[in-house]
Protein backbone atom coordinates (compact mmCIF):
# COMPACT_ATOMS: atom_id res chain seq x y z
CA UNK A 1 0.00 0.00 0.00
CA UNK A 2 2.82 2.34 0.98
CA UNK A 3 4.37 1.43 -2.35
CA UNK A 4 1.26 2.32 -4.35
CA UNK A 5 0.95 5.65 -2.56
CA UNK A 6 4.60 6.45 -3.25
CA UNK A 7 4.14 5.38 -6.85
CA UNK A 8 1.26 7.80 -7.21
CA UNK A 9 3.20 10.67 -5.65
CA UNK A 10 6.22 10.19 -7.88
CA UNK A 11 4.25 9.52 -11.05
CA UNK A 12 2.41 12.78 -10.36
CA UNK A 13 5.70 14.66 -10.17
CA UNK A 14 6.78 13.26 -13.53
CA UNK A 15 3.45 14.09 -15.16
CA UNK A 16 3.80 17.68 -13.95
CA UNK A 17 7.42 17.74 -15.13
CA UNK A 18 6.26 16.58 -18.55
CA UNK A 19 3.61 19.28 -18.65
CA UNK A 20 6.23 22.02 -18.36
CA UNK A 21 7.01 21.37 -21.98
CA UNK A 22 3.46 21.56 -23.26
CA UNK A 23 4.08 21.53 -27.00
CA UNK A 24 6.48 18.64 -26.71
CA UNK A 25 3.91 16.81 -24.57
CA UNK A 26 1.15 17.19 -27.19
CA UNK A 27 3.49 16.09 -29.98
CA UNK A 28 4.67 12.99 -28.20
CA UNK A 29 1.12 11.90 -27.30
CA UNK A 30 0.07 12.10 -30.94
CA UNK A 31 3.37 10.75 -32.19
CA UNK A 32 3.01 7.75 -29.93
CA UNK A 33 -0.55 7.07 -31.08
CA UNK A 34 0.58 7.31 -34.70
CA UNK A 35 3.61 5.06 -34.35
CA UNK A 36 1.81 2.31 -32.45
CA UNK A 37 -1.10 2.64 -34.91
CA UNK A 38 1.24 2.00 -37.84
CA UNK A 39 2.06 -1.31 -36.21
CA UNK A 40 -1.41 -2.64 -36.90
CA UNK A 41 -1.52 -1.05 -40.35
CA UNK A 42 1.42 -3.33 -41.14
CA UNK A 43 -0.69 -6.37 -40.28
CA UNK A 44 -3.60 -5.02 -42.36
CA UNK A 45 -1.27 -4.55 -45.32
CA UNK A 46 -0.08 -8.12 -44.97
CA UNK A 47 -3.65 -9.38 -45.08
CA UNK A 48 -4.33 -7.41 -48.27
CA UNK A 49 -2.03 -10.00 -49.88
CA UNK A 50 -2.95 -13.18 -48.00
CA UNK A 51 -6.19 -14.56 -46.52
CA UNK A 52 -4.69 -16.22 -43.49
CA UNK A 53 -1.46 -16.37 -41.53
CA UNK A 54 -0.49 -19.72 -40.05
CA UNK A 55 -4.11 -20.73 -40.52
CA UNK A 56 -5.44 -17.72 -38.57
CA UNK A 57 -7.82 -15.15 -40.08
CA UNK A 58 -7.43 -11.38 -39.81
CA UNK A 59 -9.94 -10.89 -36.94
CA UNK A 60 -8.25 -13.72 -35.04
CA UNK A 61 -4.80 -12.21 -35.52
CA UNK A 62 -6.27 -8.84 -34.57
CA UNK A 63 -7.47 -10.38 -31.32
CA UNK A 64 -3.99 -11.77 -30.54
CA UNK A 65 -2.43 -8.46 -31.50
CA UNK A 66 -4.84 -6.39 -29.42
CA UNK A 67 -4.50 -8.60 -26.33
CA UNK A 68 -0.72 -8.49 -26.55
CA UNK A 69 -0.53 -4.74 -27.17
CA UNK A 70 -3.10 -3.81 -24.51
CA UNK A 71 -1.62 -5.90 -21.72
CA UNK A 72 1.91 -4.87 -22.68
CA UNK A 73 0.72 -1.26 -22.89
CA UNK A 74 -0.57 -1.37 -19.32
CA UNK A 75 2.70 -2.83 -18.02
CA UNK A 76 4.65 -0.32 -20.10
CA UNK A 77 2.61 2.58 -18.72
CA UNK A 78 3.13 1.42 -15.15
CA UNK A 79 6.74 0.16 -15.24
CA UNK A 80 8.04 1.07 -18.68
CA UNK A 81 10.91 3.25 -17.48
CA UNK A 82 12.67 0.51 -15.62
CA UNK A 83 15.24 0.40 -18.39
CA UNK A 84 16.61 3.76 -17.17
CA UNK A 85 17.60 2.00 -13.95
CA UNK A 86 20.97 1.02 -15.40
CA UNK A 87 21.70 4.65 -16.30
CA UNK A 88 20.62 5.78 -12.83
CA UNK A 89 23.02 3.31 -11.25
CA UNK A 90 25.86 4.42 -13.49
CA UNK A 91 25.43 8.13 -12.71
CA UNK A 92 24.81 7.41 -9.02
CA UNK A 93 21.34 8.96 -8.82
CA UNK A 94 19.95 5.56 -7.81
CA UNK A 95 21.47 6.20 -4.37
CA UNK A 96 19.05 9.09 -3.86
CA UNK A 97 16.12 6.71 -4.22
CA UNK A 98 17.61 4.40 -1.61
CA UNK A 99 17.67 6.99 1.17
CA UNK A 100 13.96 7.81 0.86
CA UNK A 101 11.47 6.16 3.23
CA UNK A 102 9.40 4.50 0.50
CA UNK A 103 9.88 1.24 -1.42
CA UNK A 104 12.54 1.51 -4.11
CA UNK A 105 10.56 -0.61 -6.55
CA UNK A 106 7.72 1.92 -6.46
CA UNK A 107 10.17 4.76 -7.12
CA UNK A 108 11.89 2.95 -9.96
CA UNK A 109 8.55 1.90 -11.45
CA UNK A 110 7.24 5.46 -11.40
CA UNK A 111 10.51 6.87 -12.73
CA UNK A 112 9.94 8.99 -15.86
CA UNK A 113 6.23 8.14 -15.77
CA UNK A 114 4.79 9.37 -19.06
CA UNK A 115 1.16 9.82 -20.00
CA UNK A 116 2.04 9.50 -23.67
CA UNK A 117 2.26 5.75 -23.12
CA UNK A 118 -1.54 5.75 -22.99
CA UNK A 119 -1.26 5.90 -26.80
CA UNK A 120 -0.36 2.22 -26.99
CA UNK A 121 -3.19 1.15 -24.69
CA UNK A 122 -5.74 3.26 -26.57
CA UNK A 123 -4.69 1.79 -29.87
CA UNK A 124 -4.74 -1.75 -28.44
CA UNK A 125 -8.19 -1.21 -26.94
CA UNK A 126 -9.60 0.07 -30.26
CA UNK A 127 -8.29 -2.95 -32.16
CA UNK A 128 -9.52 -5.23 -29.35
CA UNK A 129 -13.03 -3.77 -29.63
CA UNK A 130 -13.07 -4.36 -33.37
CA UNK A 131 -11.62 -7.88 -33.11
CA UNK A 132 -14.15 -8.98 -30.48
CA UNK A 133 -16.99 -8.00 -32.80
CA UNK A 134 -15.38 -9.35 -35.95
CA UNK A 135 -14.24 -12.82 -34.79
CA UNK A 136 -16.51 -15.73 -35.57
CA UNK A 137 -17.02 -17.01 -32.03
CA UNK A 138 -19.89 -18.61 -30.22
CA UNK A 139 -19.65 -16.42 -27.11
CA UNK A 140 -20.30 -18.11 -23.77
CA UNK A 141 -20.21 -16.47 -20.36
CA UNK A 142 -16.84 -18.11 -19.65
CA UNK A 143 -15.33 -16.83 -22.88
CA UNK A 144 -16.58 -13.30 -22.25
CA UNK A 145 -15.12 -13.36 -18.75
CA UNK A 146 -11.82 -14.67 -20.04
CA UNK A 147 -11.17 -11.48 -22.05
CA UNK A 148 -10.60 -9.07 -19.11
CA UNK A 149 -8.81 -11.88 -17.23
CA UNK A 150 -6.38 -12.16 -20.16
CA UNK A 151 -5.70 -8.43 -20.24
CA UNK A 152 -5.07 -8.18 -16.49
CA UNK A 153 -3.00 -11.38 -16.26
CA UNK A 154 -1.07 -10.39 -19.36
CA UNK A 155 -0.29 -6.99 -17.88
CA UNK A 156 0.92 -8.70 -14.69
CA UNK A 157 3.12 -11.14 -16.62
CA UNK A 158 4.72 -8.33 -18.63
CA UNK A 159 5.15 -6.31 -15.42
CA UNK A 160 6.99 -9.26 -13.88
CA UNK A 161 9.29 -9.33 -16.92
CA UNK A 162 9.99 -5.61 -16.47
CA UNK A 163 10.81 -6.10 -12.77
CA UNK A 164 12.97 -9.17 -13.41
CA UNK A 165 14.80 -7.23 -16.12
CA UNK A 166 15.39 -4.38 -13.68
CA UNK A 167 16.77 -6.82 -11.11
CA UNK A 168 19.09 -8.19 -13.77
CA UNK A 169 20.30 -4.65 -14.51
CA UNK A 170 21.57 -4.35 -10.94
CA UNK A 171 24.08 -7.09 -11.76
CA UNK A 172 24.75 -6.03 -15.34
CA UNK A 173 24.21 -2.30 -15.49
CA UNK A 174 24.32 -2.02 -19.24
CA UNK A 175 21.76 -4.76 -19.78
CA UNK A 176 18.79 -2.52 -20.64
CA UNK A 177 18.77 -3.96 -24.16
CA UNK A 178 18.46 -7.50 -22.81
CA UNK A 179 15.36 -6.38 -20.95
CA UNK A 180 13.97 -4.69 -24.05
CA UNK A 181 14.46 -7.90 -26.02
CA UNK A 182 12.13 -9.72 -23.65
CA UNK A 183 9.54 -6.95 -23.22
CA UNK A 184 9.26 -5.28 -26.62
CA UNK A 185 10.41 -8.47 -28.31
CA UNK A 186 7.87 -10.49 -26.36
CA UNK A 187 4.94 -8.32 -27.28
CA UNK A 188 5.85 -8.38 -30.98
CA UNK A 189 6.16 -12.16 -30.86
CA UNK A 190 2.70 -12.52 -29.33
CA UNK A 191 1.11 -10.49 -32.11
CA UNK A 192 1.44 -13.50 -34.42
CA UNK A 193 -0.13 -16.93 -33.99
CA UNK A 194 2.05 -19.62 -32.41
CA UNK A 195 1.65 -21.76 -35.53
CA UNK A 196 4.06 -19.56 -37.49
CA UNK A 197 6.90 -20.16 -34.99
CA UNK A 198 9.11 -23.21 -34.39
CA UNK A 199 8.04 -25.66 -31.70
CA UNK A 200 11.08 -24.98 -29.52
CA UNK A 201 10.40 -21.27 -29.42
CA UNK A 202 6.74 -21.89 -28.54
CA UNK A 203 7.81 -24.31 -25.80
CA UNK A 204 10.24 -21.77 -24.41
CA UNK A 205 7.61 -19.05 -24.42
CA UNK A 206 5.21 -21.39 -22.63
CA UNK A 207 7.36 -22.99 -19.95
CA UNK A 208 10.50 -20.87 -19.58
CA UNK A 209 9.25 -17.32 -19.99
CA UNK A 210 5.49 -17.99 -19.89
CA UNK A 211 4.41 -15.23 -22.27
CA UNK A 212 2.14 -17.76 -24.02
CA UNK A 213 -0.30 -17.28 -21.15
CA UNK A 214 -0.74 -13.60 -22.04
CA UNK A 215 -2.81 -14.48 -25.11
CA UNK A 216 -1.82 -17.59 -27.10
CA UNK A 217 -3.23 -20.20 -24.71
CA UNK A 218 -6.38 -18.43 -23.42
CA UNK A 219 -7.15 -16.94 -26.84
CA UNK A 220 -6.91 -20.41 -28.38
CA UNK A 221 -9.67 -21.46 -25.98
CA UNK A 222 -11.84 -18.47 -26.89
CA UNK A 223 -11.36 -19.14 -30.62
CA UNK A 224 -11.90 -22.92 -30.27
CA UNK A 225 -8.45 -23.65 -31.60
CA UNK A 226 -6.01 -26.31 -30.39
CA UNK A 227 -3.46 -25.11 -27.82
CA UNK A 228 -0.06 -24.22 -29.25
CA UNK A 229 1.44 -27.32 -27.62
CA UNK A 230 -0.32 -30.22 -25.99
CA UNK A 231 -1.55 -28.58 -22.81
CA UNK A 232 -4.47 -29.84 -20.69
CA UNK A 233 -7.86 -28.19 -21.15
CA UNK A 234 -7.69 -26.05 -18.00
CA UNK A 235 -4.49 -24.34 -19.18
CA UNK A 236 -6.57 -21.52 -20.66
CA UNK A 237 -7.62 -20.52 -17.15
CA UNK A 238 -4.13 -20.78 -15.68
CA UNK A 239 -3.09 -17.26 -16.76
CA UNK A 240 -3.86 -15.58 -13.39
CA UNK A 241 -1.88 -18.29 -11.57
CA UNK A 242 1.02 -17.96 -13.98
CA UNK A 243 0.89 -14.18 -13.48
CA UNK A 244 0.99 -14.50 -9.69
CA UNK A 245 3.91 -16.94 -9.93
CA UNK A 246 5.83 -14.65 -12.28
CA UNK A 247 5.28 -11.64 -10.03
CA UNK A 248 6.45 -13.57 -6.95
CA UNK A 249 9.62 -14.72 -8.74
CA UNK A 250 10.29 -11.24 -10.08
CA UNK A 251 9.81 -9.76 -6.62
CA UNK A 252 12.28 -12.24 -5.20
CA UNK A 253 14.80 -11.43 -7.92
CA UNK A 254 14.38 -7.71 -7.21
CA UNK A 255 15.01 -8.16 -3.48
CA UNK A 256 18.09 -10.25 -4.15
CA UNK A 257 19.37 -7.70 -6.62
CA UNK A 258 18.84 -4.79 -4.27
CA UNK A 259 20.75 -6.47 -1.47
CA UNK A 260 23.74 -7.02 -3.69
CA UNK A 261 23.71 -3.49 -5.10
CA UNK A 262 27.23 -2.08 -5.23
CA UNK A 263 26.73 1.59 -6.01
CA UNK A 264 29.27 3.78 -7.82
CA UNK A 265 32.65 5.02 -6.69
CA UNK A 266 31.77 8.41 -5.29
Amino acid sequence: MEGLRAYGLIAGMWVRSGMTYRASFVFTVFGNLLVTGLDFVGILLMFSQVDSLGGWTLPEIALLYALSVTSFGIADLLLGSMDVLGARMRDGSFDILLVRPVPVLAQVGADRFAVRRLGRITQGAVVLGWALVAVDVDWSAVKVLLVPVMVVSGAAIFSAVFVAGAAFQIFAQDAAEVQNAFTYGGTTLLQYPPSVFGKDLVRGVTFMLPLAFVNWVPAAYVLDRPYPIGLPGWAAFASPLVAVGCCALAGLAWRTGLRSYRSTGS
Partner: protein
Protein backbone atom coordinates in the same frame (compact mmCIF):
# COMPACT_ATOMS: atom_id res chain seq x y z
CA UNK B 1 29.43 5.51 25.60
CA UNK B 2 25.78 5.49 26.54
CA UNK B 3 24.91 8.29 24.15
CA UNK B 4 26.48 6.76 21.05
CA UNK B 5 24.25 7.55 18.11
CA UNK B 6 26.36 6.06 15.35
CA UNK B 7 28.28 2.89 16.17
CA UNK B 8 30.68 1.00 13.94
CA UNK B 9 32.53 -2.04 15.16
CA UNK B 10 34.99 -3.67 12.78
CA UNK B 11 32.92 -2.73 9.75
CA UNK B 12 34.21 -3.98 6.40
CA UNK B 13 33.18 -3.66 2.80
CA UNK B 14 34.79 -5.91 0.26
CA UNK B 15 34.10 -5.57 -3.45
CA UNK B 16 34.68 -8.33 -5.95
CA UNK B 17 36.41 -6.82 -8.93
CA UNK B 18 36.73 -8.61 -12.23
CA UNK B 19 39.49 -7.46 -14.46
CA UNK B 20 39.67 -8.27 -18.12
CA UNK B 21 42.95 -10.03 -18.77
CA UNK B 22 42.22 -11.29 -22.24
CA UNK B 23 39.45 -12.39 -24.55
CA UNK B 24 36.75 -13.84 -22.24
CA UNK B 25 39.36 -14.17 -19.51
CA UNK B 26 38.61 -12.46 -16.24
CA UNK B 27 40.79 -12.19 -13.22
CA UNK B 28 38.88 -11.91 -9.97
CA UNK B 29 40.27 -10.15 -7.01
CA UNK B 30 38.91 -8.49 -3.92
CA UNK B 31 39.17 -4.86 -2.98
CA UNK B 32 38.75 -3.81 0.63
CA UNK B 33 37.10 -0.43 0.29
CA UNK B 34 36.55 -0.28 4.04
CA UNK B 35 38.82 -2.38 6.20
CA UNK B 36 37.71 -2.99 9.76
CA UNK B 37 36.65 0.49 10.83
CA UNK B 38 35.41 1.17 14.37
CA UNK B 39 34.18 4.47 15.78
CA UNK B 40 31.24 5.98 17.59
CA UNK B 41 29.64 9.35 17.15
CA UNK B 42 27.62 10.81 20.02
CA UNK B 43 24.33 12.60 19.56
CA UNK B 44 24.92 16.25 18.67
CA UNK B 45 28.50 15.85 17.49
CA UNK B 46 29.75 17.44 14.28
CA UNK B 47 32.39 15.27 12.67
CA UNK B 48 34.48 15.76 9.56
CA UNK B 49 35.25 12.60 7.64
CA UNK B 50 38.16 13.16 5.31
CA UNK B 51 40.57 11.29 3.13
CA UNK B 52 41.84 11.17 -0.44
CA UNK B 53 39.72 9.96 -3.35
CA UNK B 54 38.96 6.27 -3.17
CA UNK B 55 39.86 6.08 0.52
CA UNK B 56 36.46 4.68 1.47
CA UNK B 57 34.62 7.82 2.65
CA UNK B 58 31.61 7.44 0.40
CA UNK B 59 31.46 3.71 0.98
CA UNK B 60 31.23 4.35 4.73
CA UNK B 61 28.44 6.93 4.26
CA UNK B 62 26.60 4.52 1.99
CA UNK B 63 26.75 1.80 4.63
CA UNK B 64 25.56 4.24 7.29
CA UNK B 65 22.53 5.14 5.16
CA UNK B 66 21.73 1.55 4.22
CA UNK B 67 22.57 1.95 0.53
CA UNK B 68 25.29 -0.67 0.79
CA UNK B 69 25.33 -3.80 2.93
CA UNK B 70 28.55 -4.23 4.95
CA UNK B 71 30.55 -7.39 4.26
CA UNK B 72 31.39 -7.73 7.93
CA UNK B 73 31.32 -6.12 11.34
CA UNK B 74 28.53 -4.46 13.27
CA UNK B 75 26.92 -1.15 12.37
CA UNK B 76 24.09 0.72 14.12
CA UNK B 77 22.57 4.14 13.59
CA UNK B 78 20.04 5.17 16.25
CA UNK B 79 19.98 1.50 17.22
CA UNK B 80 18.92 0.48 13.71
CA UNK B 81 20.82 -1.82 11.36
CA UNK B 82 20.76 0.42 8.26
CA UNK B 83 20.84 -2.18 5.48
CA UNK B 84 18.14 -4.32 7.12
CA UNK B 85 15.73 -1.51 7.94
CA UNK B 86 16.63 1.08 5.38
CA UNK B 87 13.18 2.62 5.01
CA UNK B 88 12.61 2.86 8.76
CA UNK B 89 15.97 4.55 9.19
CA UNK B 90 15.23 6.94 6.32
CA UNK B 91 12.72 8.80 8.49
CA UNK B 92 15.44 9.62 10.99
CA UNK B 93 18.32 10.61 8.73
CA UNK B 94 18.92 13.33 6.16
CA UNK B 95 21.36 12.86 3.30
CA UNK B 96 22.86 15.40 0.91
CA UNK B 97 25.03 14.18 -1.94
CA UNK B 98 26.99 17.16 -3.22
CA UNK B 99 27.08 15.96 -6.79
CA UNK B 100 23.51 14.70 -7.13
CA UNK B 101 20.20 16.26 -6.35
CA UNK B 102 16.99 14.95 -4.87
CA UNK B 103 15.12 17.92 -6.37
CA UNK B 104 12.86 17.75 -9.41
CA UNK B 105 14.73 19.35 -12.25
CA UNK B 106 11.85 20.81 -14.24
CA UNK B 107 9.57 21.81 -11.36
CA UNK B 108 9.64 24.79 -9.01
CA UNK B 109 11.68 24.15 -5.85
CA UNK B 110 8.58 24.21 -3.66
CA UNK B 111 7.12 21.22 -5.53
CA UNK B 112 10.00 19.01 -4.39
CA UNK B 113 9.35 20.11 -0.81
CA UNK B 114 5.65 19.30 -1.15
CA UNK B 115 6.68 15.82 -2.28
CA UNK B 116 8.92 15.43 0.79
CA UNK B 117 6.02 16.58 2.94
CA UNK B 118 3.87 13.74 1.69
CA UNK B 119 6.53 11.10 1.16
CA UNK B 120 7.87 11.47 4.72
CA UNK B 121 4.33 11.97 6.09
CA UNK B 122 5.41 15.13 7.91
CA UNK B 123 2.54 16.56 9.99
CA UNK B 124 1.21 19.73 8.32
CA UNK B 125 2.03 22.13 11.15
CA UNK B 126 5.57 20.81 11.51
CA UNK B 127 6.15 20.92 7.76
CA UNK B 128 5.08 24.57 7.55
CA UNK B 129 7.17 25.51 10.56
CA UNK B 130 10.27 23.74 9.20
CA UNK B 131 9.78 25.11 5.70
CA UNK B 132 9.48 28.68 7.01
CA UNK B 133 12.55 28.31 9.19
CA UNK B 134 14.69 26.66 6.49
CA UNK B 135 13.54 29.15 3.86
CA UNK B 136 14.67 31.98 6.09
CA UNK B 137 17.96 30.49 7.26
CA UNK B 138 19.01 29.26 3.84
CA UNK B 139 17.75 32.35 2.05
CA UNK B 140 15.42 30.45 -0.25
CA UNK B 141 12.43 32.83 -0.21
CA UNK B 142 12.80 34.07 -3.76
CA UNK B 143 13.78 30.67 -5.13
CA UNK B 144 10.76 28.60 -4.09
CA UNK B 145 8.87 29.27 -7.32
CA UNK B 146 11.89 28.92 -9.59
CA UNK B 147 12.35 25.65 -11.53
CA UNK B 148 15.34 23.81 -10.12
CA UNK B 149 17.13 23.69 -13.48
CA UNK B 150 17.41 27.50 -13.34
CA UNK B 151 19.12 27.56 -9.94
CA UNK B 152 22.85 28.13 -9.59
CA UNK B 153 24.95 25.39 -8.02
CA UNK B 154 25.06 27.19 -4.68
CA UNK B 155 21.31 27.82 -4.68
CA UNK B 156 20.62 24.23 -5.60
CA UNK B 157 22.87 22.99 -2.81
CA UNK B 158 20.98 25.10 -0.27
CA UNK B 159 17.76 23.78 -1.74
CA UNK B 160 19.01 20.22 -1.34
CA UNK B 161 20.05 20.82 2.26
CA UNK B 162 16.57 22.17 3.08
CA UNK B 163 14.99 19.13 1.39
CA UNK B 164 17.07 16.82 3.59
CA UNK B 165 15.96 18.58 6.80
CA UNK B 166 12.20 19.05 6.35
CA UNK B 167 11.46 15.85 8.26
CA UNK B 168 13.62 16.83 11.27
CA UNK B 169 16.27 14.13 10.93
CA UNK B 170 18.42 13.39 13.98
CA UNK B 171 21.53 13.07 11.85
CA UNK B 172 22.56 14.78 8.65
CA UNK B 173 25.11 13.23 6.31
CA UNK B 174 26.72 15.58 3.83
CA UNK B 175 28.90 14.24 1.04
CA UNK B 176 31.06 17.12 -0.25
CA UNK B 177 28.52 19.86 0.55
CA UNK B 178 30.72 22.75 -0.58
CA UNK B 179 32.25 21.22 -3.69
CA UNK B 180 32.19 23.65 -6.60
CA UNK B 181 30.57 26.47 -4.60
CA UNK B 182 31.76 30.07 -4.63
CA UNK B 183 33.03 31.71 -1.45
CA UNK B 184 29.72 33.39 -0.58
CA UNK B 185 27.74 30.17 -0.99
CA UNK B 186 30.30 28.21 1.00
CA UNK B 187 30.00 30.70 3.86
CA UNK B 188 26.20 30.52 3.80
CA UNK B 189 26.25 26.73 3.91
CA UNK B 190 28.82 26.63 6.73
CA UNK B 191 26.98 29.24 8.81
CA UNK B 192 23.80 27.29 8.43
CA UNK B 193 25.36 23.97 9.42
CA UNK B 194 26.93 25.50 12.50
CA UNK B 195 23.58 26.91 13.54
CA UNK B 196 21.81 23.63 12.88
CA UNK B 197 24.29 21.79 15.04
CA UNK B 198 24.28 24.21 17.97
CA UNK B 199 20.62 25.19 18.06
CA UNK B 200 18.94 21.94 17.15
CA UNK B 201 21.81 19.65 18.19
CA UNK B 202 21.49 17.70 14.97
CA UNK B 203 24.36 15.24 14.61
CA UNK B 204 26.34 16.11 11.47
CA UNK B 205 28.78 13.91 9.60
CA UNK B 206 30.38 15.48 6.57
CA UNK B 207 32.92 14.35 4.03
CA UNK B 208 34.94 17.03 2.31
CA UNK B 209 38.06 17.92 0.41
CA UNK B 210 38.01 21.42 1.82
CA UNK B 211 40.08 21.76 4.98
CA UNK B 212 38.34 25.05 5.73
CA UNK B 213 35.02 23.21 6.06
CA UNK B 214 36.58 21.19 8.82
CA UNK B 215 38.41 24.11 10.42
CA UNK B 216 35.28 26.19 10.67
CA UNK B 217 32.81 23.47 11.57
CA UNK B 218 34.17 20.34 13.14
CA UNK B 219 35.62 19.80 16.57
CA UNK B 220 36.49 16.28 15.55
CA UNK B 221 38.08 14.86 12.42
CA UNK B 222 38.35 11.31 11.23
CA UNK B 223 40.87 10.55 8.51
CA UNK B 224 40.46 7.47 6.40
CA UNK B 225 42.96 6.12 3.95
CA UNK B 226 43.02 2.84 2.07
CA UNK B 227 39.87 1.85 3.95
CA UNK B 228 41.44 2.29 7.38
CA UNK B 229 40.88 4.92 10.02
CA UNK B 230 44.28 6.56 10.42
CA UNK B 231 43.34 9.47 12.67
CA UNK B 232 40.43 10.30 14.97
CA UNK B 233 40.61 13.45 17.08
CA UNK B 234 40.64 17.25 16.98
CA UNK B 235 41.87 19.10 13.89
CA UNK B 236 44.81 20.67 15.75
CA UNK B 237 46.04 17.20 16.56
CA UNK B 238 45.88 16.31 12.88
CA UNK B 239 48.23 19.15 12.03
CA UNK B 240 50.64 17.93 14.68
CA UNK B 241 50.31 14.32 13.63
CA UNK B 242 50.99 15.28 10.03
CA UNK B 243 53.46 18.10 10.87
CA UNK B 244 51.73 19.87 8.06
CA UNK B 245 53.25 22.90 6.42
CA UNK B 246 51.78 26.08 5.07
CA UNK B 247 53.18 27.82 2.05
CA UNK B 248 54.13 31.49 1.90
CA UNK B 249 54.26 32.86 -1.63
CA UNK B 250 56.18 36.11 -1.96
CA UNK B 251 56.65 38.39 -4.95
CA UNK B 252 59.93 40.31 -4.79
CA UNK B 253 60.77 43.44 -6.72
CA UNK B 254 63.19 41.57 -8.93
CA UNK B 255 64.78 38.19 -9.42
CA UNK B 256 66.93 37.34 -6.43
CA UNK B 257 68.72 34.24 -5.12
CA UNK B 258 66.60 32.09 -2.74
CA UNK B 259 65.63 33.93 0.43
CA UNK B 260 67.65 33.00 3.48
CA UNK B 261 64.72 32.27 5.77
CA UNK B 262 65.02 31.35 9.44
CA UNK B 263 64.74 27.53 9.74
CA UNK B 264 62.65 25.43 9.67
CA UNK B 265 61.15 27.73 7.01
CA UNK B 266 62.84 27.19 3.65
CA UNK B 267 62.45 28.08 0.01
CA UNK B 268 60.97 25.23 -1.98
CA UNK B 269 60.58 26.89 -5.38
CA UNK B 270 61.81 29.94 -7.25
CA UNK B 271 60.24 31.27 -10.44
CA UNK B 272 61.57 34.67 -11.51
CA UNK B 273 60.80 37.21 -8.80
CA UNK B 274 58.31 34.82 -7.15
CA UNK B 275 59.43 32.45 -4.39
CA UNK B 276 57.62 29.74 -2.42
CA UNK B 277 58.52 29.09 1.21
CA UNK B 278 57.34 26.17 3.30
CA UNK B 279 56.93 26.67 7.06
CA UNK B 280 55.25 24.68 9.86
CA UNK B 281 51.49 25.19 10.09
CA UNK B 282 51.82 25.82 13.80
CA UNK B 283 54.32 28.69 13.33
CA UNK B 284 53.25 32.31 12.93
CA UNK B 285 53.15 33.59 9.38
CA UNK B 286 53.33 37.19 10.59
CA UNK B 287 56.72 36.71 12.19
CA UNK B 288 58.14 35.06 9.09
CA UNK B 289 56.76 37.80 6.85
CA UNK B 290 58.19 40.51 9.10
CA UNK B 291 61.65 38.97 8.99
CA UNK B 292 61.60 38.63 5.22
CA UNK B 293 60.21 42.14 4.70
CA UNK B 294 63.01 43.57 6.82
CA UNK B 295 65.69 42.22 4.48
CA UNK B 296 64.07 41.84 1.05
CA UNK B 297 62.16 44.19 -1.30
CA UNK B 298 58.66 42.71 -0.91
CA UNK B 299 55.89 43.56 -3.42
CA UNK B 300 53.12 41.10 -2.62
CA UNK B 301 52.48 37.93 -0.64
CA UNK B 302 49.91 35.24 0.10
CA UNK B 303 49.66 32.30 2.50
CA UNK B 304 48.36 28.94 1.38
CA UNK B 305 46.86 26.49 3.82
CA UNK B 306 47.94 22.85 3.57
CA UNK B 307 45.45 20.66 1.73
CA UNK B 308 44.21 17.43 3.16
CA UNK B 309 46.10 15.28 0.69
CA UNK B 310 49.36 16.93 1.76
CA UNK B 311 48.57 16.56 5.45
CA UNK B 312 47.77 12.90 5.05
CA UNK B 313 50.76 12.28 2.82
CA UNK B 314 53.03 13.75 5.49
CA UNK B 315 51.26 11.74 8.15
CA UNK B 316 52.17 8.62 6.21
CA UNK B 317 55.79 9.64 5.80
CA UNK B 318 55.91 10.18 9.55
CA UNK B 319 54.48 6.77 10.29
CA UNK B 320 56.77 5.09 7.80
CA UNK B 321 59.73 6.95 9.28
CA UNK B 322 58.82 5.87 12.80
CA UNK B 323 58.47 2.30 11.69
CA UNK B 324 61.98 2.35 10.26
CA UNK B 325 63.76 3.88 13.22
Amino acid sequence: MDDAFIELDGVEKVFDVRKKTGFLKRERHQVRAVDSISFTVARGEMVGYIGPNGAGKSTTIKMLTGILTPSGGRLRVAGIDPSRERTRLAHRIGVVFGQRTTLWWDLPLIDSYKLMHRMYRIPDARYRENLDRLTELLDLGELLDVPVRQLSLGQRMRGDIAAALLHDPEVLYLDEPTIGLDVVSKTKVRDFLRQLNTERSTTVLLTTHDLQDIEQLCSRVMVIDHGRLVYDGPLTGLHEAGESERTLVVDLERELPPIEAPPPARVVRVEGPRQWLAFPASASAAELVARIAARYPLVDLSVREPDIEAVIARMYEERAGRALS
